[in-house]
Symmetry: C2
Subunit: 347 residues, 2 copies
C-alpha cells in the first residue's frame, strides 16, 4: 500500500494528482513504531527525559509555557485555538499542528522549515512569541541548574558535554516519536475488519479518492510520504483555485513556505497536514480560521480541487475523517526534576 | 502525636506558643488517605473526572490556563514563580500555594477565605487574573458542549442536573484529595527508621521545636490542624516582629486575611502554610519575594520568633525541611474529552 511519487513533486494538489503514480491503495495503516534517525536512536531513558522536557514550563523564559501548553498530549496534540498563546500573551501567526503522529510527517512546521522532529523542537523554545528563551545558551544554562537534568543528560547522552541544546531537541524528539495513535477505525477496516467503518464512513472513503483528496493526503499519516530526502517536504499550494473562501477565511495573507525560501514558486505552499485525528484538531488551516470540520472539507474541495460538494458528500467525508481518530496510549506523567531550596524563575 | 489546641487560636505565632497544649510530639506522620466531606465522597470515577477538569485548559476563558498551569502536579504543585500568570498575561498578587497535601490544610488560599477544597476550586476559574471565565453559567455552558463531560457528570453525580458549577468543584476537590506525598524522610524517621534523617536533619528537627517553629507548623501537614470547624482556619500574623525584612521583601503591603474580613485584628494574618515539600516550593511567602529556603528560614525566625539564627542553625533546619519532601505517586495522564469536528475556543 505504498504510494510512489516520481518525481517527488514540490506541488501537490488536485492538478498534480495525475502525476502521482499510485501503485496500490491510497490508504495506509499507521505503523505502531516510528523510525528514528541513526544519530538519535529511541531509548526508554531518552524518551523519559524528553517527556520531562516536553512538559517542563521552565523551558520558557518566565516559566509559564511548555511544549504541552500548545500541543496537549492529554488531548489531540494541539490547543484547539486559532493561533497559540506564548509567553507574555504573545500570539503566533499560525495554528499549532498536532504533535501526535508528527513522526510520520515529511517535514515539520506548516511551512516545512524543519526537516526533522529534532530540528523542529529547537524552534519554539527560542521563538519570541512562543517560549521566549533568549538563546540556546540560556536554555542550557537553566537546565544545568537542575540537578536531575544534569544527571539524566549525562546518562542518556554521555560524552564530555552531554547537556547541549542539540541534545535537548534530541530527547524531545525521541519522546515525540512515541506519540502514535494506532487502531483507528480506518486502520482496523484496512486490516480486514469491514465492520469498523459505518456505511457513511465507507462512502466517505470512496469519496476522498474520487474527489481527489488522496492526491495529497496519502501515506501513513495521510499527509504524503512519511520521509523524503533531507530538505524536501511534501507540499501543496493552498488555495490553488480562487474562491469566496480566500477572503472569508483570509487564506492568502500568509505566504507560507515563501516566508522561508523567498522563492516565488513557494508562495502559498504549505506542508500537507495530516488527516489522522483531524476530527479532534479544530480549528483548521494554517491560520485556524475555520472552526468546523464540515466547513474545512468544503473549503478544501473548492480551493484545491475546484469542486463544490453536496451536504451529503461533506457528511460522508466527515464520517470517514472521524474514522481516522486513533487510540491514544496511556502515558504516565513525568516527574519534573526540582531545584531544591530555590527557584530559577524571576518576575 | 496529636496536637491539641484549646481554644483554637486565631493567632498562631511564637507569642501564642505558650497557649498551645502539646500532648505529644509536635511532629506527625502524613496520612495516606485524606478524609472527604460527607457530601462529596471520594470515588474513582469522580477522581478521574476531577483529574480531567484539573488539566483542562478549556476551563479558562481563552483555553490557555488550567489548574495545572500554576499548580503543577508533575512538579511540586506550584509554578515556582513569585506570582502566577493567568489569562492574557495577568498577574495575581500572591504566590501559588502547592496543591499537594492541600487536603490537610485547615482552610484554603493564603487568606483562608475558602473553608474546603470544594470552595477553593470555585475561585480561580472565575478570577479575572487567573482563568478568567465570566461566570459559573459560562463554565457550565462550555462543559455542556463537551459530550465526554456530560456523560461523566451524569454517571458520577446522577440526578436531574448533574453538570453544575458545584459539581465541577466537587470533582476537582476529589482529585486533589488524592494528591498526597507520603513517606518523607521525616515520616520514615517518625515511624522508627532512625537512619532516615541525616545528623543535620536530626539537629534541625530538634531546632524547629526549640526555636519555636512548631508553635504553628504542627499537624499532619505541618500547617496546624488539618481540619477546624467551618469558618475557622489556622492563622499566623506575619510578620509579627518588625525587622529589616519587612521592607526588603515588601512583607507588609498585603493585609492578608483583612482583605476578606476587613477586621483590624486580621491585618497581616495568613493561613499557616505547609512545610511538606517546602524545599521544592520556592519562592516563599505570600508574595513569593524570597527566592531561597535558607533566607525564608532566617526571615521566619526573625519575623515570627524574634530570633537571629546562626548559619549553621539555618543549615540544620533546611536539612530537616528537606526531610519533609515526600514521595510523589505515579499518575496516569487524563485523556481530555474532545469536541469532535469543532472547537469551542475563539480568538
Amino acid at each position: 500500500m505504498k504510494v510512489l511519487l516520481k518525481p517527488i513533486l514540490p506541488v501537490c494538489s488536485g492538478i498534480a494528482l495525475a502525476a502521482l503514480s499510485i501503485t496500490a491503495s491510497a490508504f495506509e495503516v499507521l505503523p505502531e513504531v516510528a523510525p528514528a534517525p541513526a544519530d538519535n536512536p529511541t531509548t526508554p531513558a531518552k524518551v523519559e527525559l524528553g517527556k520531562q522536557l516536553f512538559f517542563d514550563q521552565r523551558l520558557s523564559v518566565n516559566g509559564t509555557v511548555s511544549c504541552h501548553s500548545c500541543h496537549s498530549v492529554m488531548a489531540n496534540g494541539t490547543d484547539n485555538r486559532p493561533v497559540s498563546v506564548g509567553v507574555f500573551d504573545k500570539r503566533g501567526g499560525r495554528s499549532a499542528p498536532t504533535v501526535w503522529n508528527a513522526a510520520f510527517l515529511s517535514a515539520q512546521f506548516w511551512d516545512g522549515r524543519a526537516a526533522s522532529l529534532e530540528d523542529q523542537a529547537k524552534g519554539p523554545i527560542l521563538a519570541d512569541v512562543e517560549m521566549g528563551m533568549p538563546s540556546k545558551e540560556a536554555v542550557v544554562k537553566r537546565l544545568q541548574q537542575i540537578p536531575g537534568y544534569v544527571t539524566q543528560f549525562k546518562s542518556v547522552f554521555g560524552g564530555k558535554d552531554p547537556l547541549t541544546y542539540d541534545n535537548v531537541a534530541k530527547a524531545i524528539a525521541a519522546f515525540e516519536r512515541t506519540l502514535i495513535t494506532p487502531n483507528s477505525a480506518v486502520d482496523r477496516y484496512l486490516k480486514g475488519d469491514k465492520s469498523a467503518l459505518s456505511a457513511a464512513g465507507k462512502r466517505g472513503m470512496e469519496l476522498v479518492e474520487k474527489v481527489g483528496c488522496t492526491g495529497c493526503h496519502t501515506g501513513p499519516n495521510y499527509a504524503g510520504p512519511a520521509s523524503l530526502p533531507v530538505g524536501q517536504g511534501f507540499y501543496q499550494k493552498f488555495p490553488t483555485f480562487p474562491s469566496k473562501y480566500d477572503k472569508q477565511y483570509d487564506l492568502k495573507a500568509d505566504l507560507g513556505r515563501h516566508e522561508v525560501t523567498h522563492n516565488d514558486a513557494d508562495k502559498h505552499m504549505w506542508r500537507v497536514p495530516s488527516l489522522r485525528n483531524v476530527a479532534l484538531t479544530a480549528p483548521y488551516f494554517h491560520n485556524g480560521s475555520v472552526p468546523t470540520l464540515d466547513e474545512a472539507v468544503r473549503v478544501m474541495a473548492k480551493s484545491q480541487l475546484n469542486k463544490v460538494l453536496t451536504n451529503s458528500e461533506v457528511s460522508d467525508i466527515v464520517a470517514f475523517l472521524n474514522g481516522l481518530t486513533g487510540e491514544f496510549p496511556a502515558i504516565t506523567m513525568p516527574r519534573l526534576p526540582p531545584t531544591p531550596n530555590r527557584t530559577l524563575l524571576e518576575k
